[in-house]
């Protein structure tokens, strides 16, 4: 399971049960009684078929009614005793189409990706701006990682898009597990994932990227070759300005090199800091520091 911190529930699609989504509204219990009576009456005369999803609750909020054969005047009569709107089937289909369209629009406005549940590009762009500003203000480092699945097209072409999608979800889970709570994993687009890593030096990002790369190779293969990813890394350098695209391009360049260099590897742009954690004392230096031969002293 992916850690929940990287997951946001995708918007619930409404299209599954069109009969249930006729405009509803709150209605008092008294009115329900009245409505129910009317409907019973109408049904007795076989004028309509009715789905009443008033529920077992005392104060039903949502009604679902489909009244194909209700005449316009009957519908009007219903509207007068309740604020439930009764649609014809044709009317309903139109309404469903409208909702679908609206839904699609809303999804594009949302910040998560429908397939993987990860943050989408929109959120990524917003958050990266924030983190870059933070780095300029506080001087704390910020690194960016771009991953691209190797031979994803081959998988799609060979086993179909369903398998391809399943694999995308699997990879997003595997990557999510290897990240820290502060890392921000996004679906950048297609088979590309981006990870914003606040308060992370290029060196630390490099270690994490290696871990990710190894864990993807461990996913049970579907084709002859094991799965793999190529990863590009860069650390934000405030002296390069505020342009997000410069930072992203730098990371992309590294990713391109990783692909070009034979895939299944991590490349980075920029200079690794000369910090102690990078094991600054080489074997040669150590040999002299720790030698026991006094005469060669100084």
């Amino acid at each position: 399971m992916p850690s929940p911190k990287h997951k946001v529930d995708p918007a619930v699609p409404l299209r599954n049960q069109p009969t249930e989504i006729i405009q509803g509204a709150s209605i008092s219990t008294r009115k329900v009684q009245t409505l129910a009576n009317i409907l019973r009456l109408l049904e007795k005369e076989k004028a309509i078929s009715v789905w009443l999803d008033s529920g077992k609750d005392r104060n039903p909020e949502l009604f679902a009614i489909l009244a194909d054969e209700l005449s316009d005047s009957e519908r009007k009569a219903l509207t007068q005793v309740t604020d439930v709107v009764v649609h014809t089937r044709e009317n309903l289909a139109k309404r469903v189409a409208e909702l679908e369209k609206e839904n699609k629009h809303l999804r594009s406005l949302s910040l998560t990706d429908g397939l993987t549940g990860l943050y989408n590009y929109r959120f990524f762009a917003k958050q990266l701006e924030v983190e870059m500003a933070r780095t300029r203000r506080t001087g704390q480092p910020c690194s960016l990682m771009m991953t691209d699945l190797d031979d994803f097209k081959l998988l799609n072409d060979t086993l179909g898009h369903d398998e391809g999608n399943k694999y995308l979800v699997k990879v997003s889970e595997v990557i999510g597990e290897k990240l820290r709570p502060t890392d921000i994993l996004c679906r950048y687009g297609g088979d590309e994932f981006a990870v914003i890593m606040p308060a992370t030096t290029l060196f630390d990002a490099l270690r994490i990227a290696q871990r990710l790369r190894e864990s993807v190779v461990m996913i049970p293969p579907k084709l002859d070759n094991p799965f793999s990813v190529s990863i590009g890394l860069a650390e934000y350098d405030p002296s390069c300005g505020q342009e997000m695209s410069v930072f992203v391009n730098m990371t992309d360049t590294a990713l391109y090199r990783a692909k070009k260099g034979g895939k299944n590897r991590v490349c980075y742009e920029g200079k690794l800091p000369e910090i102690g954690k990078v094991a600054p004392v080489t074997q040669d230096e150590r040999a002299i520091l720790l030698r026991r031969d006094d005469k060669k002293g100084r």
Binding site: G276, P280, L289
Partner: protein
Amino acid sequence: MQSKEPVITSIASGKGGVGKTFITANLAACLVREGRKVLVVDCDLGLANMDILLGITPMFTLQDVVFGDQTIQDVITSTKAGFDLLPASSGVKEMGQLLYEKIQMIKSALGSIFPNYDEVLLDTGAGISEVVLQFNLFAPRNIIVLNREPTSLTDAYAVIKVMHQRFDRTSFGIIVNSARDEKEADRLFGHVDTVCRDFLGISLHYLGHIVSDEAIPRSIVNQKVLVQTHPNSRVGMNCFNIARAASNWKPQAMATEGPSAK
């Protein structure tokens, strides 16, 4: 006699437990005996222990300046050894991982009180974290303490290498602690100096050694400053020699960022 610009010296070691705090306290006491007005800043944020070594319980610490509303003047306390101390808190994790912003804040607060002193000694923490490096960068003079342990030698060299490669520092003073004798101290210094010449192209400045002696742990247990209680002991003499050498040492290239840059 007060100069506007105090001599600011950091004492670092790379590896912990090589006697950095002991040496800082004793060098400070030596300087006091030479008539200097001395401030010691415990920069070992997160694992501060200068106050414990001196047997004092500070009312406020540097932490109260960074996260509370104490001024840096309120936190400074005088010690029996004659120097002033700016104590830090121990066991406060956040202090060990201060953000860049806070380090800058401490630096500028320190800058405001420095004119009151002739000498400022920064007792920096172990390791080469950003906080440690920033405090070493703050001092134009960097002294590195090492002993015969292999890990001390490599860690001391690691500090020198990082300070050189990242901040262009070219001059370091070296103190060898817990040496069996002068010969061993010379030899240990020689090793580090050779590597610095061969690999970094810089040479080190030898400030002296302190012999391994029962008197040192005893003074620490008793929470006394050794040069004050036993100025004429072997260790005491070692300390005075080092203090003298340090006073005469003038690092050539004053590289990047001193306190004068605000």
